[in-house]
């Protein structure tokens, strides 16, 4: 019996079209248009003229922006993974408190990053909520707009740790209990069960959430714009500023900055795919 749920190959290809077509068109058009604009071949006004100025003109600031973005994304990813794993382990092991932690953590998922950034601003700014809670010490560091992008990293770690916990819980909650029981029967201590059972089970979901968090924070604008210092500018902030500049010559530079972000994301994704393959072949 042919059912519509498992359609024939031709039929299935047709079904894929409405979803695949817009993605391919938007992605292709935007990447090609960005590349053409960065080379001066698709100017906003005036005749097209091939030029590599956008790429070679201000390499130093472009590299500094790139390094700032990679730094923010790396630290945010590591913190989100660590806190997210602890959140997941806590939810799995503590029946009542865990349920409360799980519900609260899931409730932060729908909060847009723009609001997260506003909230972290009210919390961490000079004479903000945390400063007041601590009694306004003179040594309170400049977290918002200060060096090190600490408030930006805090916002990403806060939002994305809940995401990591959700992904890890969804992938290991079914199998982890039985395996822990088995390990306990064989004499594994609590610490050993966490390190030898729960953590290895969570590695694939941690790796996948790591790449999602890294790519997301690398290309995210709101928190870096609201909470970051004026200089160095992370890639998205630089790109958006140049894009909105009245100087139309800044457009190609904005496009080059956007393409650098895409390239760094692609490298990160390929690296994780490679590492996951190695990890699977090791097991």
């Amino acid at each position: 019996m042919t059912s519509r749920m498992t359609p024939g190959t031709g039929h299935a290809a047709l079904l894929a079209l409405p979803a695949v077509l817009p993605i391919v068109v938007v992605l292709a058009v935007s990447l090609v248009a960005a590349a053409l604009q960065s080379l001066g071949l698709m100017p906003f006004i005036g005749p097209p003229q091939l030029s590599g100025d956008a790429w070679t003109g201000d390499v130093q600031t472009l590299v500094r922006s790139g390094l700032a973005s990679v730094y923010i994304a790396s630290i945010s990813t590591v913190l989100s993974l660590a806190v997210g794993f602890v959140l997941a382990a806590y939810v799995l092991t503590m029946p009542r408190m865990g349920r409360l932690v799980e519900t609260l953590s899931a409730a932060t998922i729908p909060i847009p990053h723009l609001i997260g950034a506003g909230a972290i601003g009210l919390l961490l700014s000079d004479s903000g909520f945390l400063d007041r809670l601590l009694g306004m010490p003179d040594s309170f560091p400049a977290l918002v707009a200060g060096p090190g992008f600490l408030a930006v990293i805090a916002e990403y770690a806060w939002k994305e740790s809940a995401f990591v916990a959700l992904v890890v819980l969804g992938s290991i909650s079914r199998s982890v209990g039985d395996l822990c029981d088995a390990a306990a029967t064989l004499g594994a201590t609590a610490g050993q069960r966490i390190l030898r059972v729960v953590l290895p089970l969570a590695v694939p979901s941690l790796a996948i959430s790591a790449v999602i968090v890294f790519v997301y924070t690398l290309g995210s604008y709101e928190a870096a714009w609201l909470l970051g210092p004026v200089s160095p500018e992370p890639l998205p902030v630089r790109a958006v500023r140049l894009f909105g500049s009245v100087d139309l010559a800044a457009r190609p530079q904005a496009m080059a900055t956007a393409l650098v972000t895409v390239a760094v994301s692609a490298v990160a994704i390929l690296a994780v795919v490679f590492l996951l393959r190695r990890f699977r072949s090791l097991r």
């Binding site: 749920m5 498992t6 393409l259």
Partner: protein, 275 residues
């Protein structure tokens, strides 16, 4: 959205090192981590006066919320709602079709379709928006339609993934039984398949709604000021200083509708899970 958990097994309950007091402290710290950033938002939204060293506001008022009762905010709320629902109503069925297609295709083309469906996750939204902006302008695409198009592409990985995981555990034989009892293909889909996939569809719809409802960067760059949504109002309030009450009240206004939607989507499933 929230995975239904199995109760912790006997050894899991003894897995966190450090004994009961340590576990309580860890739980307290985790709750603090989650809740602390929202605390100043709640306090500022109802604060009248709140000068620097005071830990709590010295007076309370609803001036932040009352400042929101303007035709401008109402229009922005309507724009945000229609953007959210517009993106969700397009991206949900498309994600479903994509997931069904991946299931029906042979391994290699199936992989290729899956790759395309996930590809938007790899491109930062601002890059997507900047690149396509000139093309959209040259094709005389209206800003609103351009924003919806880009956001649908951003939302498709989420909706397709939701249906992919639901279809992975979907048992085809339910539909076959319905067909062998004389149901037409359409009847089998309406009475068997759609109800079984309803919760996945609700989750997919919710995620796609969030993409439109909370978007800032696509609206900013493509909308070019013509499309004023709630996040746009928040962006201008939050980037200026001295607007704490308004920023906080606006933030809560943006968070509450999705939370109600989330509760509506997950509570019935949990009650059913317990029965």
């Amino acid at each position: 959205m929230i995975p239904t958990l199995q109760p912790a097994s006997a050894s899991m309950r003894r897995t966190l090192p450090g004994g009961f007091p340590m576990q309580l402290i860890l739980g307290f710290l985790l709750i603090l981590w989650i809740v602390l950033p929202m605390a100043p938002v709640f306090l500022w939204s109802i604060a009248g006066q709140w000068r620097a060293p005071a830990v709590l506001p010295s007076s309370y008022s609803l001036q932040g919320f009352s400042a929101l009762i303007t035709p401008d905010t109402a229009r922005a709320a309507a724009s945000s709602l229609s953007l959210g629902f517009g993106v969700a109503m397009i991206a949900t069925p498309l994600g479903y079709l994509g997931a069904v297609a991946v299931r029906g295709l042979p391994a290699v083309p199936g992989r290729a379709v899956e790759f395309v469906l996930l590809a938007p996750l790899a491109i930062p939204p601002f890059a997507l928006v900047m690149g396509s902006n000139v093309a959209l302008l040259r094709l005389y695409v209206s800003p609103t339609f351009g924003v919806i198009l880009v956001l649908v592409v951003t939302a498709l990985p989420y909706t397709a993934f939701m249906f992919r995981s639901a279809l992975a555990s979907y048992d085809q034989r339910f539909e076959e039984v319905a067909r062998s009892l004389g149901a037409s293909p359409g009847q089998a889909a309406r009475t068997v398949r759609y109800p079984l996939l309803a919760s996945a569809a609700a989750r997919a719809f919710f995620l796609a709604f969030l993409v439109g409802w909370g978007d800032y960067i696509a609206t900013l760059l493509i909308g070019g000021g013509q499309l004023r949504t709630l996040p746009m109002l928040l962006g201008s309030a939050a980037s200026a200083t001295g607007n704490e009450q308004l920023t906080a009240a606006l933030s809560l206004t943006i968070i509450v509708p999705p939370l109600i939607l989330l509760a509506g989507l997950t509570l019935p499933a949990r009650v059913r899970g317990r029965q």
